[in-house]
């Protein structure tokens, strides 16, 4: 109980300190407005040319809201890996070891706090633009609840991926390249620009099995198309991925700590 309160407090502090992020919202508005308008046109033309009312199971307004959500998810990702990389290199991680805290857990909670704020702000901007462009789609309280359930695991998964990359600093001269590759792969294979249903049939099962789609595609799909069965599937996938990645994080983290103990940080 005490432990939970401790980590919650860490998360809240991180959330508060990121309210300064508000100043970036204006710039974000231009960014999202331009991107979303262009995508609206792209899909309007595509729906029009093909004469379809649904593509990949989504109507045109749903498609735009799907993109609002994938952009929001992508833009709200805190850059955890570089911070962890720095902690390793500067020895701040070694200093953390003497505190009565688990470093990975403290990081996880502060990341979740930061992400919550960023996610909220970006969503407000993105939703406003989408309302202006295509109006609302059918939202229900139950559907939103299902969507919210898909978020925590998605955020955690992304955190674990970034944490692993940051830990790379123990062995690699530079981890920014890894992070870049990770983020681009997440964009493509996670379905940021185009929903998984529109990928070639043959690759779709593979993409669903990979964790990237559980970070972006899954929650975004839940947002425009709430579905209890889909959610159950998604959470099982997310859960499995979290178990596997947590195991990897534990291994790598322990190996890193051994290096600190051996080399003195």
């Amino acid at each position: 109980m005490m432990a939970l309160r401790k980590y919650t407090w860490i998360g809240l502090t991180a959330a508060r300190s990121n309210l300064a992020y508000l100043s970036e919202v204006a710039a974000r508005t231009v960014f999202l407005a331009v991107i979303l308008y262009i995508f609206l046109r792209l899909w309007q033309v595509t729906y029009g040319d093909t004469g379809a009312t649904q593509l990949g199971g989504l109507t045109l307004p749903q498609m735009l809201w799907y993109l609002v959500m994938t952009e929001t998810l992508t833009l709200s990702a805190p850059r955890v890996a570089p911070e962890i990389d720095q902690d390793v290199r500067t020895g701040a991680l070694a200093v953390q070891l003497i505190r009565p805290l688990s470093y990975p857990l403290a990081r996880l909670w502060s990341t979740l706090g930061e992400r919550l704020v960023r996610f909220g702000l970006n969503l407000v901007v993105g939703a406003a633009i989408a309302l202006l462009l295509v109006g609302p789609i059918a939202f229900s309280a139950g559907g939103l609840l299902l969507f919210l359930l898909a978020l925590p695991c998605a955020f955690t998964l992304d955190f674990l991926g970034q944490f692993l990359i940051g830990m790379g600093a123990f062995w690699l001269e530079d981890t920014s390249g890894l992070l870049l590759i990770y983020s681009r792969i997440t964009m493509i294979l996670g379905g940021m620009l185009i929903p998984l249903e529109l990928f070639p049939q043959a690759v779709q099962p593979w993409l669903r099995a990979l964790p990237f789609s559980s970070i972006i595609y899954g929650p975004a799909r839940m947002f425009v198309h709430p579905d209890a069965a889909f959610l159950r599937d998604l959470i099982v996938r997310q859960g499995l991925a979290i178990v596997v990645l947590s195991g990897a994080v534990a291994l790598v983290y322990r190996a890193g700590i051994r290096r600190i103990h051996a080399n003195g940080g």
Partner: protein, 265 residues
Amino acid sequence: MLKQLTNYLGLVAAYTRLNLNAQLEYRGAFISQVVAMFLNDGVWLVFWTLFFTRFPVLRGWTINDVITLWAMTASGFGLAHAIYGNVLPLAGLVAQGQLDVWMLYPRALLPHILLGRMSASAWGDALFGYAVYLVFVRPDLQHFGLFVVLTLSAALLFVGFGVLTGSLSFFLGNASSLADQWRFAMVTFSTYPAVLFDGAIKLLLYTLVPAGFVSYLPVQALRELSPWYALLALAGALGVTAMGVLVFYLGLRRYESGNLMEMRG
């Protein structure tokens, strides 16, 4: 006239060599920036490939046309900022009174100051553009020659537009963020087929956000091997540049009068 031109080209070559040498002092960082940009552009290539696999034609445009468009924008943008890298921070340079030192050289101010820096990632864009055009479009010699000429026109357009937006600082104080966003809109629109837009937005693409001079006219020129479209693209680039130069020198008068915000001392 010719002598002046060769003299200036000599200066351009000297600056480019020096800028490149300075970048190569940190070879690893330089290469990773170039590779990062290459990868970044690659994401879009994948997106468009996926898109056209599912929907082979977009208002008469095929995947080849869109790849040509991407190649054009990337190499034009890359060329512009690999050589005239000081276009990007121009708004800040003006606002911070950093034109002073450049005014102490016996050279025309604007074409000189723009040479002062090189954007490393711009090399990634330039390489990506030419490589993608050669590898995916497989042009004959004639097309490739026209492509190269048109990328020069696109580069001129980006430089002229950057000067125009950067010069806002002469009139508005530090306009860095406004210039960045305006430039972002320009670059983003130049990476999507202009055929997506009609009406007011289409008008916008040849005026306030002159992306049409890179995203439509050059591609059309290459599709039809049409000198007419090529000339229109070039005329647009020249027009935007003339506008930028005019605004810059009008602004410079304010700068020289010293009534530009915080430039006393």
